[in-house]
Amino acid sequence: MIIRKTESIIELFMKEGVMSTPVLETENLVKVYGRGPAAFHALKGLTFEIHRGESVAIVGKSGSGKSTLMHLLALLDEPTSGVVALDGKPVTKLKPKAVSGLRNATFGFVFQQFFLNPNQTVLENVTLPLKIAGISKSERNEHGMKALEQLEMADKAKNKATDLSGGQKQRVCIARALINNPEVIFADEPTGNLDSATSETVEDILFGLHRDHGITLVVVTHDEDLAAKCQRRLIMQDGHIVEEQTGASTTTPTAARVPAAPGERPQEQPSRRRRLMKFGKGGAR
């Protein structure tokens, strides 16, 4: 457990930079809501980085600024001051259109509320990022079906999104987050609306993606189990990061559950399918 001080950042950056490049970096990130006497400092100068292929949990009490931070990292919002850099390039100065393009190409999102369009089919919901990217329908559907297959949801492709259970909905959301081959998946309370068994399925899927595809995972959560599965935890309080924990706490939950060799690839469908089916049923319970 390291209590992180601003002075040690450069040192830490040098050390970790050798191992992997930071995909996201922040410098003195400040977010103030409102103006004048009503101004509220939600983030009070955060500097840290997230490395490629890392899984990071942002934890903390309600109102501590977790979602605010995630929105800034995901380029959904602009900081009041400070810098967010993606792949070493500051994005604060970019035009809105370029930022939109970056989000579309590099990020995947999973939200607590599912944000599925009830009028559209599961497949249409999943392929929305590709539609926005301007990819042809046939190609979209091909990718969409692959993503749904990966999440055991292929048979629901033609269903309306409203016809699904909560766990199924979140799997659809993950499929949507996956479809553009993102570098980073942001998940804000991905299991907040799910029962514990279903939560575990969803967590498994997310960490499976992280492990198998090297996708960087940034998870905002209250859930200690979920946070514990992440390689690093940023603990927030009143707009500050007060503590940073590294290493999967106690036992690595992913390793415990997946005894396969480190080189396991998603092509090894049978074992994955069986595992997912089990939890899938659990979710429907």
């Binding site: 959904l76 919002d77 259109k97 939109s100 579309n104 944000f115 369009n117 929305l128 926005i132 042809s136």
Partner: protein
């Protein structure tokens, strides 16, 4: 997002709340319908007039009248008018001022005029068939109108022969058994000889014989609605009408048909010269243009109402889309979060407005055309109330006008969509995602 996807998505979005879209579209349909019917009506009337002009050919003729007869005289104000012994000589039975000999001489003197054919005003008493039946005959068509006349059978009277045409409605005098003139074969009239009775100044009746050579039907300008004599017959009747008293009655003419050398080049100069003398010269085109002008004025009033309807409908679009933007706040937020640019969001909602406009214009135009053509068939068909008007087309297809109408509706719809679309584009993804 591809334009095709934008269009498809916008289309399926408009179909989401069908009732609301339907009601919004209805308002546009009303505007589009009115515009279509109006344009078809004016196209139909104009086509009728053009057909009449085409029948008249390219003769270089001007019809000259007293300006006051056309309501174009100098406005001298109310109250007593100074007396002009030249002009005030004669007026027709309808009080219309006539042309005098001096007027005719003046016209003949104008540059470019090759021939002047004065038209006498003739008011006979009766027409008698070979069977001996007599029918009241107050007015005759003017021979000069011949070229614009719509003939059912036969041909126009020869200039120098004692010939006449009768309107199709007069056929009943030749076949007493028939209930309706439409049941009578107009061919039977051809070659029939009739006698025309006319009183002279001493109130003594005389008769002139004439042969029926054609059967006419009244057209939009009213030409062909009365028997029309040849020039020779008209002159003969005028001779009789002005005889009987031992006084020299100055000739007076209801109008003069003026042949002009190269009408196009000389038209304005001759018209100006005539105007200085208090006369007015009009081509057939000018005469029919008066009818066209009235129709066009009516059309523009209707266009105005239709545009007001469309304006009202545009607020319906604004309202519908604003509601839609509000309802879909989260969806918009999600799309923006997933990387859709504000420009594309604007495009998507504008496209929804355009699609509403497109639906409205397609339905409105189709309904307008269907009603227009049906009404045309029913009204101007053989049994219709306007069936008697020869060569009349009430409703015609005007593709340019239809294209223009559709374009106007789409532009209005797009303009109406800009406000809600801008609202949608301005939405902040964060706020939209937090929105409950």
């Amino acid at each position: 997002m591809r334009s095709l996807d934008v269009t498809k998505t916008a289309f399926s979005n408009t179909l989401r709340s069908k009732m609301r879209t339907f009601l919004t579209v209805i308002a546009i349909v009303i505007g589009g319908f009115t515009l279509t019917v109006t344009s078809g009506l004016s196209a139909g009337i104009n086509q009728t007039v053009d057909d009449m002009l085409a029948g008249y050919g390219e003769e270089d003729q001007l019809f000259v009248m007293q300006a006051s007869a056309m309501g174009m005289g100098e406005d001298l104000g109310p109250g007593p008018q100074p007396y002009d012994p030249e002009a005030g000589q004669q007026s027709s039975t309808f009080g219309q001022e006539m042309l005098s000999e001096t007027d005719i001489e003046f016209i003949e003197g104008i540059d470019g005029v090759t021939n002047v054919e004065p038209i006498f005003f003739v008011s006979p008493d009766y027409l008698e068939t070979s069977g001996g039946e007599q029918y009241t005959l107050n007015s005759l068509d003017i021979p000069a109108d011949g070229p614009a006349m719509e003939l059912v059978v036969g041909e126009l009277p020869e200039r120098d022969a004692m010939e006449i045409t009768i309107p199709d409605t007069w056929l009943t005098m030749l076949d007493a058994d028939a209930e309706d003139y439409e049941d009578i074969d107009p061919q039977i009239a051809l070659g029939e000889t009739v006698e025309i009775g006319i009183s002279n100044l001493a109130f003594e009746q005389e008769t002139v014989q004439a042969e029926i050579v054609g059967v006419s039907t009244a057209n939009l300008a009213g030409i062909g609605g009365a028997p029309m004599p040849s020039y020779a017959l008209n002159d003969e009747l005028y001779e009789i009408q002005n005889s009987g008293l031992d006084v020299e009655q100055p000739d007076a003419f209801i109008q003069a048909v003026v042949d002009v050398d190269d009408l196009e080049a000389n038209e304005q100069a001759i018209k100006d010269a005539l105007q200085e003398e208090g006369l007015v010269g009009m081509t057939l085109e000018d005469l029919l243009g008066i009818i066209q002008g009235i129709i066009d004025a009516v059309a523009w009033v209707l266009y105005g109402f239709a545009l007001i309807a469309l304006l009202a409908a545009s607020f319906g679009i604004v309202n519908t889309l604003l509601m839609s933007v509000q309802e879909r706040t989260r969806e918009i937020g999600l799309m923006k979060a997933l990387g859709m640019s504000s420009g594309k969001v604007f495009g998507l909602f504008s496209m929804e407005a355009v699609i509403i406009g497109l639906l409205g214009s397609v339905i409105g135009l189709a309904a307008g055309l269907a009603v227009g053509f049906t009404a045309n068939t029913l009204l101007t068909g053989g049994d219709g109330p306007l069936g008697g008007v020869g060569g009349l087309t009430l409703f015609a297809l005007d593709p340019v006008a239809l294209g223009l109408i559709a374009a106007v509706i789409l532009v209005i719809a797009f303009a109406a969509g800009t406000l809600p679309a801008a609202r949608a584009a301005k939405k902040d993804p964060i706020e939209a995602l937090r929105y409950e």
